[in-house]
């Protein structure tokens, strides 16, 4: 096959492919998709395995993407190296890039550069105070280790029956505002920010990907598998039942009013969980306002582990043995009684 023929076939293939998928795109217009990237990227099977053996999925779920905080950012806003279609392999996205959105309070282009500054000085920064790489620096998180595409979690203020868009509220917005796109985005954005942007269970699961990893916990000399031990507490149990009001990791480990990216080590005097500050964590007006600072003295991350928390271990051990040692024999006796009732005349061996 010569090259000219190959080119022709290539054109036809690519063109036909674009045509094949174009009709459905027209039905679901996508505000930020100026480059019409979804022509190809709306296909779930658009994928490959890369040279490192990782699965690369190029599918964008349009309906989910439109419910995310980046819905108004056009694809090229993040994938800045893509300037032609079809494009070559895209470079890794730099989350600190300035996108086309204008931050309204400063009227400058929006970027996440501040987050990088916060992270650098936080307990999750890859470098230490004098700028050297921390030990096992590859273990420290980058943006995508904690964040996938953030999705809106709108609140409903109408009757407070359920979270989600309140049609009644939208109706009030429409009194003054005319564009539904704007109303929808603004409502979603503001009400999502009025509460946790992720459910406490999701937050715990996210932290647990590293903090429950036994090898990572050991490598860094951490005292606990933090999310596992959180799950053993009342707060953790409530989070498992999807309670939105219980504190998750961020509520205790970040100073109120600061970015979650400013999380500090418990050894840092400025940290919310430093020995001198942690009493205040429980006693905030949102949690236990009249609680004594001593409330925070209990072992929040105690595990049922002889090495880590011997006192709690033996205490729990005693009650476990007491419970099991009472109930299991009781159940055993009931079972044997039932067997006798089932076989009233059965004997082992011959009766004398």
């Amino acid at each position: 096959m010569n090259l000219t023929r190959a080119k022709k076939i290539c054109f036809i293939f690519s063109l036909s492919f674009l045509i094949l998928i174009s009709d459905s795109v027209q039905k679901t217009s996508f505000a930020a998709d100026i480059g019409n990237c979804l022509l190809c990227h709306k296909y779930p099977g658009l994928s490959r395995v890369d040279e490192e053996g990782r699965m690369r999925l190029f599918f964008i779920n349009e309906s989910i993407y439109n419910n995310g905080v980046h819905a108004k950012v056009k694809c090229e806003g993040c994938h800045t190296d893509i300037t032609e279609i079809p494009h070559k392999a895209a470079k890794k996205v730099d989350c600190l890039v300035e996108c086309h959105i204008i931050e309204p309070t400063t009227e400058t282009k929006f970027s996440h550069k501040d987050v990088a500054t916060f992270i650098k000085t936080s307990v999750h920064g890859k470098v230490d105070k004098i700028g050297n790489d921390k030990k096992f620096s590859e273990d420290y998180p980058s943006c995508k280790d904690c964040h996938d595409e953030p999705l809106y979690r709108p609140l409903s203020f109408f009757k407070k029956v359920r979270p989600g868009i309140s049609e009644a509220s939208l109706g009030r917005c429409r009194v003054c505002h005319k564009k539904d796109d704007f109303i929808y985005q603004f409502y979603n954005h503001v009400t999502t920010r009025l509460h946790k942007s992720r459910n406490p269970l999701n937050i715990a699961e996210m932290c647990g990907r590293c903090h429950d990893d036994s090898s990572l916990v050991t490598r860094h000399g951490l005292s606990t598998k933090a999310v596992f031990s959180y799950g053993e507490t009342f707060h953790g149990k409530a989070a498992t039942f999807l309670d939105e009001r219980v504190p998750d990791c961020l509520d205790c480990h970040v100073n109120k009013g600061e970015s979650v990216h400013q999380m500090l080590s418990h050894k840092d005097p400025l940290s919310s969980i430093h020995e001198t500050n942690k009493g205040k964590v429980c006693a905030t007006i949102d949690c236990h306002p009249s609680a004594s600072p001593k409330l925070a003295n209990y072992g929040v991350h105690s595990e049922f582990n002889l090495t880590q928390s011997p006192a709690q271990y033996f205490f729990t051990f005693f009650f476990i043995v007491l419970t099991g040692g009472t109930l299991l024999p009781l159940m055993g006796i009931i079972f044997l009684d039932l067997v006798r009732r089932f076989f009233p005349h059965a004997t082992i061996g011959r009766r004398k």
Partner: protein, 287 residues
């Protein structure tokens, strides 16, 4: 009769007691045992800490394959979005299609088999999502060609009605498979006989000699054509390979797929990137 119901009652009661015994065991003594094993596991990790620092953290297989995917639930309040989480993947997938249980090709070649042509591989994998491998890679001779293509369900493998009008493009839970003539009747190319042969080979692979392996592979790939069908075999107006109308494509979609008018438009698209897509793998690599 009364006695019979009494026995049933006793059996249910006994089952219930055993059930509670298991639960009590799990939350009491099993919990202690679990802690004991976990503690020892941690101690072992600590013990080998220094060695770990020198060695790669985990074997590539563990790290790349076993840890690469997990299922997550995102609790959004108004809905729960459950999906596969691919490590390092930013955008939500929100889409579950399930494995193709019928295809015997993907048992060896995987779900994303196309890799050779850099510029095309993702597009070909995209097509492989709803087009059976045999559709492009098996060229039937005149004696057994039927021109019949049908959809099969990915999960059950059964022939099903066309999903084209129901699903969004490319997201069908079914794939296209060609039919061939065999002994006077027509049968699907992925016949039970061929599937069983390849599965048996896979089961016995370790016990076979190198020569036997080569022979088995040769037989399995006997129907595979050296040159697969290419894009324009389907994407053409005159005689497209796939009988698009018969497999359920509506007229407007067929016109889109086979349209030639737009070809001219694309030729004028000056910024269109021209990959060396149709050169055979080795030649493409040289360039």
């Amino acid at each position: 009769m009364k006695n019979f119901f009494f026995k049933i009652y006793m059996l249910v009661f006994m089952a219930l007691v055993v059930f509670f015994m298991v639960i009590i065991w799990k939350v009491t003594f099993a919990h202690i045992l679990h802690e004991y094993h976990e503690r020892h596991k941690t101690q072992e990790i600590t013990k080998f800490k220094e060695q770990r620092e020198q060695k790669p953290d985990k074997t590539k297989f563990e790290k790349v394959i076993l840890e690469s995917e997990e299922r997550v639930k995102n609790y959004l309040g108004y809905r729960i979005l459950e999906e596969v989480r691919i490590k390092g993947h930013f955008h939500h997938i929100g889409f579950d299609i399930g494995p193709d249980n019928r295809s015997y090709c993907i048992k060896c070649h995987g779900d994303m088999p196309h890799d050779a042509v850099k510029e095309l591989r993702a597009f070909l994998n995209m097509h492989a999502f709803f087009v059976g491998c045999e559709t492009c890679h098996v060229k039937l001779g005149d004696s057994n060609k039927t021109g019949v293509f049908k959809w099969y369900d990915r999960t059950t493998g059964e022939i099903v009605a066309s999903p084209v009008k129901r699903g969004s493009p490319g997201s069908f839970k079914a794939k296209i498979i060609p039919f061939e003539k065999s002994g006077g009747a027509i049968q699907r190319v992925d016949s039970e006989e061929r599937i069983n042969f390849s599965l048996e080979y896979k089961q016995n692979e370790k016990t076979l000699s190198e020569g036997q392996k080569s022979r088995a592979k040769k037989l399995i790939h006997q129907i595979v054509s050296k040159q697969p069908y290419i894009c324009e075999d389907c994407h053409q107006k005159e005689r497209p390979l796939l009988p698009l109308e018969n497999i359920g494509y509506p007229r407007e979609r067929i016109d889109s797929i086979t349209s030639t008018e737009v070809v001219g438009m694309i030729k004028n698209y000056t910024k269109f990137y021209m990959p060396k897509m149709l050169l055979p793998g080795d030649e493409a690599k040289k360039q």
